[in-house]
């Protein structure tokens, strides 16, 4: 068993304004990854403002005090870099990987939009990016079969008022109602150095990064009070299974089963991660062996189970299967429920456990094989657990999970009377 999932150096320095600067030197390739985690996500959005954290992420690319509209992308790509940003319920991250000689440019750009976005924010930009985000919603969620599954599962898993109740993409009505002042206030509230972690990984040194961070970010003032998101750590069990049936223009019946488990980063969630791999990763998984191969009621390419790595409330475990031709949604749902229930009654074998751990080990080293993968991981552990070095503990923790722990976790979090089931049926075609 490896004693570390992160065999590279890690340092963390806190600037006077609260910005945490994480550095991991690796001179293997002449590239650096720059990654900023802001501790704000859709869990912070009040009712009526769903989708705002994500729309805001778009606005961060539209210029700031010293960067003209459209210049951000042009400067990073013109330096040979790759860049993007993502928003999820927990947080918003911004990242670019550039040839090492352009590190200073990347830090200047990130500092300018952390400290100087609001003066550059215009109604025209907001209107344009609102249209872009509405198109994103159409493309990803509305115009594809089963595209709205995630939007339907969240409110079944988390009650109204819970920070994970609504999806990050937000509602069309809320997006339409978004006004400029709200976004200016959003930046002033959450985009503060003491609410962010700056991570740099690659062909650089701790001294260089800390000096540059001080130079570009050092004078951005801290914000005294950053309002927390609602506390979602305790979600009372309803004791009643929730089932939603959807008749839609889909090519085959599909079933999702979802449960609330434990927050990402907790020992309980490590067990759930291994459990999910036993249940749904690969052709050797229980779902594949039982439903795709054994009973042959599920399409082999569309079988899976995974945890959604959210850290601020019990995170979801989702299992899904899609029917082979001639198989009804009811039969498929019964088959899926049976395999999930058996995690409690049929002990996981040593071979199943080894297989799951081997697949997780490869997945881990795959993320660690690039400087950008490492930077995002360090930013996560610094933001969510206060110490980037804890990144090294995850892989050993997965490898220490036992079959008994999986059976206990299954009994604890996969109870049928606290299960969410979402079933899609194809429309009857004339």
């Amino acid at each position: 068993m490896p004693d570390s999932g992160y065999p590279w150096p890690i340092s963390m320095t806190r600037l006077d304004n609260g910005l945490r600067v994480v550095v991991s030197e690796d001179r293997t390739a002449p590239a650096v990854a720059v990654n900023l985690w802001y501790d704000v996500g859709s869990r912070h959005e009040p009712a009526g403002q769903t989708g705002f954290a994500h729309l805001f992420e778009h606005l961060m690319f539209e210029g700031s005090m010293n960067v003209a509209k459209t210049e951000h992308m042009k400067l990073v790509q013109g330096a040979g870099g790759s860049l993007n940003a993502t928003t999820n319920p927990d947080r918003t991250n911004y990242f670019e990987t550039v040839p090492a000689e352009h590190l200073e440019l990347a830090l200047w750009l990130e500092a300018d939009r952390m400290g100087g976005l609001v003066p550059a924010l215009t109604q025209e930009t907001l209107d344009n990016q609102r249209d872009v985000v509405k198109n994103e919603r159409r493309q990803r969620y509305e115009n594809v079969p089963y595209g709205d599954a995630w939007l339907r599962l969240l409110p079944l898993l988390y009650p109204p008022g819970h920070p994970y109740h609504h999806a990050t993409i937000g509602s069309m009505a809320d997006l339409n109602a978004a006004d400029l002042a709200t976004f200016q206030a959003f930046h002033q509230t959450y985009y503060a150095p003491n609410n962010a972690v700056l991570t740099v990984v690659g062909d650089t040194s701790v001294d260089e990064v800390v000096a540059l961070a001080e130079k570009y970010f050092g004078a951005i003032p801290a914000r005294a009070e950053i309002p927390p998101a609602p506390d979602g750590r305790v979600v009372p069990s309803t004791g009643v299974p929730a089932t939603e049936t959807v008749v839609a223009d889909v090519p085959a019946p599909r079933v999702y089963v979802a449960h609330r488990t434990h927050p990402f980063g907790s020992p309980g969630y490590d067990v759930v991660t291994v459990l999910a791999a036993v249940l749904g990763s690969g052709r050797g998984s229980r779902l594949y062996q039982r439903l795709a191969d054994g009973e042959r009621i599920a399409q082999p390419d569309l079988v899976g189970a995974y945890g959604v790595d959210l850290a601020h409330a019990p995170a979801p475990l989702i299992a899904t299967v899609t029917a082979r031709p001639g198989v009804s949604g009811q039969r498929l749902a019964a088959g899926l429920a049976e395999v999930v229930d058996e995690l409690v009654t049929v002990p996981v074998t040593a071979a199943e456990l080894d297989r799951a751990k081997a697949l997780l080990t490869t997945a881990w080293w795959r993320q660690m094989s690039t400087v950008d993968g490492r930077a995002d991981a360090l930013g996560r552990y610094a933001t969510q657990f206060g110490d980037p070095a804890t990144v090294a503990d995850r892989l050993p923790a997965w490898l220490a999970v036992t079959a008994d722990q999986i059976a206990e976790a299954a009994a604890e979090v996969l109870a049928a009377d606290d299960r969410v089931t979402l079933i899609y049926h194809p429309e009857e075609k004339p």
Partner: protein
């Protein structure tokens, strides 16, 4: 003021390095490896001259079905035992197909690479191919394609391809076939295709820490029992341009977006203009800052994204633009996209735009070629297109040296706005009149 207004310039440039390449010939097969010192993960990829271009017309999808059938058991063990054996090493058998090659690969912690390659070879070289299993896999593949074709895009892609290359040619039909072509395949065709193309040695691509990898042992496993040698790859195909631009409308009732697929034929991979063509494509539609994305997304707000590029295989290529736009603005989005293509063809690129495009493409060779998987992909390019070990370093130099005159000339010569086929997949009842009212060209309804 708390922020520093002046944009910093670049520091001292680091020299570009592509990993050291090692080539060997073992047992009639080629080994091409890249040394990644200290890397814990390794990738091995077996490359066979068995791409979709080798499938007979009327048997589209043969390679895809065979790829799945490889995992339905081998002469050594049944499907479940095979899955458990390979997944216990931490990898699945990953298969891939393009016009030129069939690929099967494994990705594992480096100390397990030998065992993983043995299992890879077992599936590729000695699959059981029981006819009953093959028929089931074929039916599953047809179902999987039906699922995929329920999404917007695959139908539009097929319609564009057929119109560009001719539906009577294999390369005028979808790479993975259609739901119907796959459903009609015969189990015996799959076995014959395997015996014809999958027991030739091919090439083994390896990316990992070569100090911890025994290349000769990997090659011995990958090439054991192989027979035959390389087969003529065929010359580049001359594809005529259409005389007139036209719109083909593919109905998708209820669609909240229209899927756009615009294109025309373009040069094959070995064309001498490869670098200026790639840069012209980058300025027009390749990067986020491209002309198309700037106008259609950032200025107009019609889409979440639009991109265009030139793509090429050994025998043919194409220029294509793809996007999903809001239904109500389908016609203006189409008109403006065609306008940008025409403007680029007529007026070429500016130094400002080209500076971004060439630095971006050159920089991507450092930034995107990090993981063993990405390096293996770069090695695959060397093998498929007969390129030298220092190809990526030379490519970088060519990209950085390309000037406005060369790239503008490539845009003028290789963009053909008057010959474009404009495929629109959307709610025909809502968009037909608007499309007919444009002066883009004749409007044709696609009939399945």
């Amino acid at each position: 003021m708390t922020l520093i207004a002046d944009r910093p310039g670049p520091g001292a440039a680091r020299p570009y390095r592509f990993p050291q390449v090692v080539r060997r010939t073992v047992a009639g097969g080629q080994v091409v490896a890249a040394h990644l010192p200290g890397q814990n993960l390794a990738v091995a990829l077996l490359l066979l001259d068995a791409g979709a271009g080798r499938e007979p017309v009327g048997s589209e999808g043969l390679g895809g079905v065979l790829a799945k059938a490889l995992e339905e058991g081998t002469v050594e063990r049944d499907a479940t035992a095979y899955a458990l054996a390979i997944e216990a090493l931490g990898t699945e058998l990953v298969t891939g197909l393009d016009w030129d090659t069939f690929q099967a690969s494994v990705q594992v912690p480096v100390d397990r690479l030998g065992a993983a390659v043995e299992l890879l070879a077992e599936a590729v070289r000695t699959p059981k191919l029981d006819p009953e299993d093959v028929r089931r896999v074929r039916d599953d593949e047809a179902t999987a394609l039906r699922m995929d074709w329920a999404n917007p895009g695959p139908r539009a892609d097929a319609v564009l391809r057929a119109d560009l290359f001719g539906v009577d040619n294999r390369w005028g039909r979808p790479m993975y076939g259609t739901p119907d072509s796959v459903a009609a395949l015969d189990a015996e065709d799959v076995t014959v295709f395997h015996s014809e193309w999958f027991i030739r040695p091919g090439a083994l691509v390896v990316a990992g820490d070569l100090d911890r990898i025994d290349l000769d042992a990997l090659a011995a496993a990958a090439f054991a029992g192989t027979v035959g040698g390389p087969v003529d790859r065929g010359a580049p195909i001359e594809v005529p341009l259409h005389a007139n631009r036209r719109i083909i409308l593919v109905d998708r009732p209820g669609s909240v977006q229209s899927t756009l697929r615009l294109g025309h034929p373009a040069p094959h991979r070995a064309h001498p203009d490869y670098v200026p063509i790639a840069l012209a494509g980058t300025v027009l539609g390749g990067a986020f800052t491209s002309r198309l994305n700037h106008l259609i997304r950032e200025v107009r707000g019609y889409t979440y994204g639009i991109r265009g590029d030139f793509a090429s295989s050994r025998r043919f290529g194409r220029f294509a633009v793809s996007s999903g736009v809001q239904t109500a603005v389908t016609a203006p989005a189409l008109v403006e996209a065609v306008g940008e293509i025409a403007r680029t063809q007529a007026g070429g690129v500016t130094e400002d735009e080209l500076a971004v495009a060439r630095s971006w493409r050159a920089g991507q060779l450092s930034v995107e070629l990090q993981s063993p998987r990405a390096i293996a992909g770069a090695l695959t390019t060397l093998v498929v297109h007969d390129l030298p070990d220092d190809y990526h370093a030379r490519l970088r130099e060519s990209l950085l040296a390309a000037d406005v005159a060369q790239v503008s000339a490539a845009a003028a010569a290789h963009l053909h706005p008057e010959s474009l086929t404009l495929v629109v997949e959307g709610d025909a009842a809502l968009i037909r009149d608007d499309l007919a009212a444009t002066d883009l060209g004749e409007l044709v309804d696609h009939t399945p």
